[in-house]
């Protein structure tokens, strides 16, 4: 009991300090879900964090070109909680990048920061050569970043076709008076965007359902429609938040082909969050792994698969290693005379040991 209280205090202590972790020996921070305190071993681990925003991490074909997205030291606090900290990324012009990590790692939070649903507390985002500081969600979309949502957000009461037409809003060229009186200009533009909307619907072969209400579509079709809607805003970077969630293996395989096709046809970058490893490992050229709000690895699919940190994040530590660390931590804590405040090892790992 007393131990828990001490942990909480430690969390606040850290959150007050903000950046100043360099001189600290022990650092606590929270993940954004359960508010658990996590013990990060020592200063060394922070220093071991690579920036992951070098050109080295770009796929061959995108090297030499300015990256579409560059993120440096991105972080956000919610009250006293640090949801994401020191997130770095470089994404090539036509790269398909993946963002993976266990539940609650802060993946969607990163998407929300990229699209300015949340204003980041720290760090900067350089999109297409320009900093996005002070931009709103609307500005971000106009600059060329479009996204889908983890929990589908369609315009339910509009038809499938209208959902695409809304996304074509900025390329539809008539004013309110034309809209009110249905002038020839209105008719001409409506005819044009109807054809264009159909072009997008064709990508996923959904032209037959054009007149259905978006809310009445089956789940998979809704996901596809959301991707098409994002695509219709003519983005340079497409952010997909769990595009394969709720799809069966054959649908997922189809989706993989479609994402590749979209990339090749529109020559855009795609950055996706996904739990389905077959999709991530199958199409992502670069993968970032996130755990407890921090980047733990970046590399190609094969590099990620063999990375011990990633395996640890997903499967936990091996028993032997855990015991060893527990022992080390204990010794370290004893040497500083701070036994009471230092929990041994990761709390979840500790639970397993019991």
């Amino acid at each position: 009991m007393a131990d828990n209280k001490e942990k909480e205090n430690a969390v606040y202590e850290y959150s007050d300090s903000g950046h100043g972790y360099e001189n600290r020996q022990e650092i606590y921070y929270n993940d954004n879900v359960g508010g658990r305190a996590v013990f990060v071993d020592s200063k060394e681990q922070y220093e071991a964090d690579e920036p992951y925003n070098d050109e080295v991490y770009l796929p061959e074909k995108d090297r030499g070109k300015a990256p579409i997205l560059q993120v440096n030291g991105l972080g956000i606090d919610f009250g006293g909680l640090t949801a994401v900290d020191n997130f770095n990324l470089t994404l090539g012009r036509t790269e398909i990048g993946g963002l993976i990590g266990p539940n609650g790692a802060g993946k969607t939070t990163i998407f929300n920061m990229l699209t300015k649903v949340y204003e980041p507390t720290r760090g900067d985002i350089i999109f297409d050569g320009k900093s996005t500081k002070g931009m709103s969600t609307v500005d971000i979309n106009k600059a060329g970043m479009a996204r889908t949502f983890q929990n589908i957000r369609l315009f339910d009461k509009l038809t499938v076709e209208e959902n695409i037409k809304v996304a074509l809003h900025h390329t539809t060229n008539y004013g309110l008076i034309d809209g009110m009186l249905h002038t020839p200009k209105y008719r001409h533009e409506e005819f044009r965007i109807r054809k264009e909307a159909m072009k997008y619907l064709k990508i996923f072969g959904m032209t037959k359902t054009a007149d259905y209400r978006a809310g009445s579509l089956p789940y998979g079709a809704q996901r596809r429609l959301e991707i098409m809607r994002a695509l219709a805003t003519k983005p340079k970077l497409l952010l997909l938040d769990e595009p394969a969630a709720g799809m069966n293996p054959s649908e997922t395989a189809e989706l993989m082909d479609t994402i590749k096709e979209i990339r090749d046809r529109f020559q855009i970058a795609v950055f996706l969050i996904e739990h389905d490893m077959s999709l991530v490992m199958g199409i992502c050229e670069g993968i970032v792994v996130l755990n407890y709000g921090r980047t733990i690895a970046k590399g190609s699919a094969s590099e990620i698969q063999s990375n011990p940190k990633v395996i640890e994040a997903y499967l936990g530590k091996s028993r032997g290693k855990m015991e060893e660390e527990k022992h080390e931590n204990l010794e370290e804590a004893l040497s500083k005379g701070r036994l009471a405040s230092a929990p041994s090892g990761k709390p979840d790992a500790g639970k397993e040991a019991e």
């Binding site: 699209t115 649903v117 709103s136 969600t137 609307v138 979309n141 106009k142 479009a146 996204r147 949502f149 957000r153 369609l154 315009f155 339910d156 009461k157 509009l158 038809t159 076709e161 209208e162 959902n163 037409k165 809304v166 996304a167 809003h169 900025h170 539809t172 008539y174 309110l176 034309d178 809209g179 009110m180 009186l181 249905h182 209105y186 533009e189 409506e190 037959k208 054009a210 007149d211 809607r229 994002a230 219709a232 805003t233």
Partner: protein, 379 residues
Amino acid sequence: MAERILKSVSVRALKGAKRGGQYRKEAMIAYGILIAGYILLQLGAATGIIGRNLQGQFVPICVYMALAISLNLVVGISGELSLGHAGFMAAGAFTGVVVTRVLEKSLSFAPARLIIALIAAALVAALAGFIIGIPILGLRGDYLAIVTLAFGEIIRNFMNVIYFGLNEKGHLVFSFNHAIDGIEDANRVITGPIGATGTTQIATFTGAMLLTAFTLFVVLNIKNSKQGRAIMAIRDNRIAGESIGLDVKKYKLMAFVVSAALAGMAGCMFGQNYSTLAPVKFNFNTSVLILVFVVLGGIGNIWGSMIAAALLTILPEALRQFSDYRMLTYAVVLIVVMICTYNPAIKARIGAVWSKINPFRKRSKDNSGSSGKKGKEAA
């Protein structure tokens, strides 16, 4: 020949129904109701079936229909609750009265005067809507409803303290918060709480019906345009709307201002129907009444709200025979209709009965399309 024309019309209608036809269907029903209503009421008045009392309600019926349609733009299409619609109606009504009185001498052709008054009323009401719209944009739901309520009352109370009159030269004199001295009663245009007096009644049933048709035209067109889609998209999902680059505030404001302008025009027509008109007519009750039309007709259902407006305006007149129990009967009817239209179980029951007696019902092919067909083949 006639058959051929009929055939081509029906073919065209069918094609319309196929091509994203929900709007065309809606428009056809709404215009149909308007035309049928106009013909029926005119016939009734000509043959004497409809009494004098009810004939006096013809213009208000059209005005309330127009108000219901315009409020539907905010409540149904934009998805925000507005309780201050009577305020915009008041702004339009009094603007119209002032404009027609000023023009009375110089422009003897009444319809032209009316049209100028309508345009002026629309502009003033739109300005009021714009001024009110800006501070309330950050609000949502109940909070927005309460602020619109307050603003509606502010407009009405403002009307209570303004005085307009015509001096000897026929020029307009304005005074705020105190009566104008030295003006004959006949030359007073608006007298504070007493309101507009001495207005020449130039509103006609046909004119009012045309105004309703115009309102319907504008609202239906907006609904099926880029702006309308943006407004509805924001209603359905604000965050997704922002994510595809829709300016939420701009489109909320647009819906609000257009709705206010249309309400102002309806108010102007209303004002031209009475020789005297007090600001108290445009109180909170009227705002609620318009909202009742919209809710009763089905939120977002434009032709439904038109029918509701017409019926609820006729009803108090038709219930005169119940004398003392008139308003009680009115309330009971309202409750029964609400239950019948919003209780899912009762609604389903009515729907089942309707599908049996519906003369236009589609056979075999329904909108479940190919999947339905396949199902049948399998069976």
